[in-house]
Assembly symmetry: C2
């Protein structure tokens, strides 16, 4: 496993770093853990990333880029706006990838690390913009009504943030079903449609 080109190795290390951060938590992630998980020496991590801080910021940026790519896919896909809203909400919700665990850590760390804050801000803003875009498209197409797509997108995603944080941090405090229902309800109100249309 020698002599790979740098960017292939970079990618593998960043992907591994994301897994380790999600699994162990940011505070418990050592450079040696990432190296071990990737099957390389600890020194290689420093060879490619110079510092641990740099590795972590790049790892979060890597994770953000992946999420953003998925969002763009939905936004640009053909299909009815209401269906896109539904797909964005599904994408946004908690899933098996531990992405939420990672981003809750990321938010906390972003308060002190400006570089990380930029990454996290970019992701958060884009999610909200993407939903707003799709809502605007739906309004333009006459599929539903919404007086304030920007505000609606913010309120919907913020509600989802708040509920998902609770569900992620406090095991079993609300069911996945309840979580999804409340988000659908709020979205349906914002768009003046029936909640069932978002299932």
């Amino acid at each position: 496993m020698t002599g790979r080109t740098a960017d292939v190795r970079l990618d593998a290390l960043l992907s591994t770093a994301c897994e380790v951060i999600a699994r162990r938590g940011l505070a418990n992630t050592r450079t040696a853990d990432v190296a071990a998980a990737a099957g390389v020496s600890q020194a290689l991590v420093f060879y490619h990333f110079e510092t641990k801080d740099n590795l972590l910021v790049r790892a979060f940026a890597y994770a953000a880029d992946q999420e953003l790519a998925r969002v763009e896919t939905v936004v640009r896909s053909p299909g009815a706006p209401l269906d896109k809203v539904r797909r964005i909400l599904k994408l946004y919700g908690p899933n098996t990838t531990k992405a939420w665990e990672m981003w809750i850590d990321g938010w906390a760390e972003s308060i002190r690390v400006p570089e990380l804050e930029k990454v996290s801000r970019r992701l958060d803003v884009r999610w909200k913009e993407a939903l707003a875009e799709v809502i605007r498209a739906g309004v333009a197409a006459g599929d539903f009504r919404c007086a304030d797509p920007h505000g609606a997108a913010w309120r919907i995603t913020a509600l989802a943030d708040g509920l998902t944080v609770q569900a992620t941090v406090h095991d079993r405090i609300i069911s996945r079903r309840q979580l999804a229902e409340w988000i659908r309800l709020a979205t349906a109100r914002e768009l003046a449609v029936r909640p069932e249309q978002l299932v």
Copy 2:
């Protein structure tokens, strides 16, 4: 500064620990920092708390108790339910105490530390219950309408969580004014009142 009774010292140390955690962030808080900020030796911290983990959990519990006391004061105060809703929302919002910075760190840490998760869960649940109680009282008094006080309380506080996290982590991403307005708007919808009634 010698020979204070243990519980006075405990209190002072916990209060100082909260300040330090809020200011420096959980990850950057050393037992020596807390000791220095309190003007005592590092060894005294261990004398009273045995381990750093214990100190931190107790500090979060201390902060939670203070917040809870303020919530209870509002809930039990005389006054119209709608006014209590307004006061709870005001109390919930970001303020100058850096409480939100602390609890965002707390949420992240709670994912891995069961003891801390209990503390954070107790606080989160009580906030939601308190608001639900007040909503129920308002419905009973005929001051406003709400078909699902429990759900409404969850949706309102989760929205507030989501928006406040954004405002806390991402400086200037939304104004305090906008934050408060969106929460009032959502609350007004839930309670079938006009947003101005919540100002």
